[in-house]
């Protein structure tokens, strides 16, 4: 599926992140090409969110570099966003006391430039920019299906819609690459399907997507390419088929093929796999199940 030969939007080279003695991410290389949807999977604590934080400048990687369309990015979040990488957060980080529309307008920040003076003087330029921002924001709310809630406080939205709003807010900066950190966590199956459609639609608009997800059906439906992170290291990278059939992945993470029955049976299989060569953290993860959510990361 990965036949793209264009130059990548994202090039991460040797990204390493250490917290004291803990190496959360170790020498990870990853490319994302225009028009691609790339999945990033791995058990909880594998370092996926930390990797995202390194990409977006929230953490300064201990080693390695991140480049957007060939330009190496400084590790400053606002410059990364300015350059064209936008993200959502695993544990939703909306501006709770702002309205839905205002949240998206904040997302427009890097693409507008009206400063304090222009706000105070309210010239025609200010009004034009403000109208244009609002129009673009409403467009994105239409796109994500939140238009009728534009005036609601974001903290009053149901969970699934909050996730959508995070996506709309990220899209407002007209990114060339969108990073989604567990976009379907806490969603019911219908909402998950809808999010799948949304991600396809985003890709069709010309934005490449890198997505962390625990829902395997979601990942394998959606992604052109999947990278597996285990204990900070990239274990495998390839098409859905390659990754699904890779023994190490099954052992380290899946425990069972993704369509497998849940519950006791799964746990038993996991334990069987466990007797292989996996550590305590992995066991922990498998017992919590693939969709267990944690409060880790950003």
């Amino acid at each position: 599926m990965t036949t793209t030969t264009t130059s990548p939007v994202l090039t991460a080279t040797g990204v390493t992140m250490r917290f004291g003695g803990l190496t959360a991410v170790q020498a990870v290389d990853l490319d994302v090409h225009p028009g691609e949807i790339v999945g990033l999977i791995g058990p909880n604590g594998a370092g996926k969110t930390t990797f995202f934080n390194c990409l977006t400048g929230l953490y300064v990687p201990t080693e390695g570099s991140v480049a957007y369309r060939g330009t190496v990015l400084p590790p400053k979040p606002h410059l990364v966003t300015q350059a064209g990488i936008a993200r959502t957060f695993q544990n939703i980080r909306l501006f709770a006391n702002m309205t839905v529309l205002e949240n998206v307008l904040v997302g427009r920040h890097t693409r507008t430039k009206e400063g304090l003076w222009s706000a105070l003087l309210r010239g025609p330029g200010f009004k034009r920019a403000e109208t244009a921002s609002k129009a673009r924001a409403m467009e994105l709310l239409e796109f994500t299906g939140l238009a009728d809630k534009a005036d609601h406080l974001s903290r009053n939205l149901p969970y699934g819609e909050q996730r959508k709003l995070e996506i709309a807010r990220a899209l407002a900066s007209d990114p060339g690459l969108l990073l989604l950190d567990e976009p379907t966590a806490g969603m019911n199956p219908q909402e998950t399907r809808a999010t799948e459609e949304l991600v396809f639609a985003i890709r069709d608009l010309g934005t490449a997507v890198l997505v962390i997800e625990h829902d395997m059906r979601f990942i394998f439906n959606l992604c052109d390419r999947v990278a597996v992170l285990v204990q900070g290291q990239k274990l495998v990278e390839g098409t859905s088929e390659t990754v699904q059939s890779d023994e190490r992945v099954i052992a380290a993470y899946l425990g069972t093929p993704f369509e497998g029955a849940p519950g006791a049976e799964e746990a038993a299989e996991v334990e069987a796999a466990e007797s292989g060569a996996t550590g305590g953290a992995t066991q922990d993860e498998a017992q919590r199940g693939p969709t267990a959510r944690t409060e880790d990361g950003q």
Binding site: H78, E114, G115, L120, E130
Partner: protein, 584 residues
Amino acid sequence: MTTDKTQPTSVPTAEAGAPAPRTTLLRALTAAGGAAAVVSTFLAWTWTAEFPGDLTVYGYPGGLQLLTLVLGIATGVFALAALDLKGLRWLTPSGSTQALRLLALGTFAVTWFTVIAIAVDLDGLVNLEPGGWIAAVVTAAPVATTFLLPDDSRPLRRPKELPSWAEILIIAAVFAIGLYVVNYGIQTDADHPEPFLGYLIAVGFAAVALVKAGLISRISELTTSYRSVTLVAALITAIVFPFFQDKSSFTELGVNIAIFATVALGLNIVVGLAGLLDLGYVAFLGVGAYTAALVSGSTASTIDVKFPFWAAVITGGVVSLIFGVVIGAPTLRLRGDYLAIVTLGFGEIFRLAMLNLDGTSGPSVTNGPDGIPNIPPLEIFGFNFNDDHSVGGVTLDSNGNYYLLMLLVTVVVVLIFSRAGNSRIGRAWVAIREDETAATAMGINGFRVKLIAFALGATLAGVAGAVWAHFQSTVVPEQYVFAGPVPPNSTFLVAAVILGGMGTIGGPLLGATLLYLIPKKLEFLQDYQLLAFGIALILLMRFRPEGIVPNRRQQLEYHETGQLDVPGATGLKDGAVGVTKAEA
């Protein structure tokens, strides 16, 4: 933000049927109780005019009796509205019982406060005339009846459409009443605490009653749909204020309120919008005041220049801005509470520096504790601010002149606050306040945006300080402390913002007014002012953390529940709501 002035509501089913006979009876009794309270105010409550306000005259309510009178009338009228008397139903768009309870309680509290104060002040119950006893009894009765009434709270009833001139008239009337109420409070006798305490009790109960009745929501709907009319009305109300004062000292209260409210509003940009806790804000006021004093041409100034007023104000603002940037630039790069600590330190350093730049401990700049007196009176285009001026038959004295000047500054700061707050930069401030990590990840340069807020706040304080120095005609270091018994001090300003409501325009204005006026009128409180602040803030945090004036976001919540509760266009029962033009 939602300017939908027609609240969609459904009429609850309980409303549909006639109320139980018992309810009707209780409401009628409450109305009678209100009437009895009114009558009782026409009796003498005590025999001597020694008690402030002269409550000795039959047939002529005075002093605290007036409060009982007004609340008694309100109780009666709202009880009649509860009885569905045609033409009064507009008074209770969201239910009558809670409002009635509060009004009855308010009447009771004011009356009993008065009666007890008479007994205490004059030493003994013998000082009460029969009228006092009667008043005490008849105001207790409605409390009992209203607490037996069933609660009839409901979502806001859809008001009848009024022609726009009528709605504008309502707004005008609201501001006129507001001005009257404020004037009444300002003009209470400062030598005795009783009248002002009674006033506070009455206003407090009445205000909450109006909120519960839904009238405040109605009014805020009107003011949002007629924004410019409201602004003009507010401005006119503020301008005419000094012309209604019969004593210059009342106008002076007005000047001080305007100054402190303005400074609190400036601080609200920093604290309320950008979420930066500035505990040394008063120092920026001081920087502006000292700068203006130094260049004012005062004989005591160590600099021998005389700038025109406008230039002095700009200099004050600019020097304050420089200090703001110098303090902010290193600190705002850090997250967390560093800013609070640094600004706290800066506030104290400023005061100590002003004390020590006296020529002996340091270079001679500020005359140390003597400050810079003799700032010459303002003169703009030959208009001397210290002289009386007559405008169309009414005379404006020096306080009046400064009041109007200060009002201009207030208006400018209000404009700046609302324009900056409602723009790209304002949204970035709020975003930073809400979640700094997410905000930077959305492309906001946190440091830059915070520095702008901090520096803007400092500049506005500097400008206000420059005007204040001219009004006071002197500056001394001891005015700029962290906490003290006289405003302004940083604690006062932060408390005004928090008490009033962070992030709003009305909040700090109201907060500063209350925090200034209450200790001013209740002199016995002065020694305990800080204690009272502390207690008030603790109670506030416990019961109303958003402050007295909820910000527009809380209003939105309110609107949202409206949207969720009601499927579309139900409750369009105009005929059921008997609001006629005449009553509006």
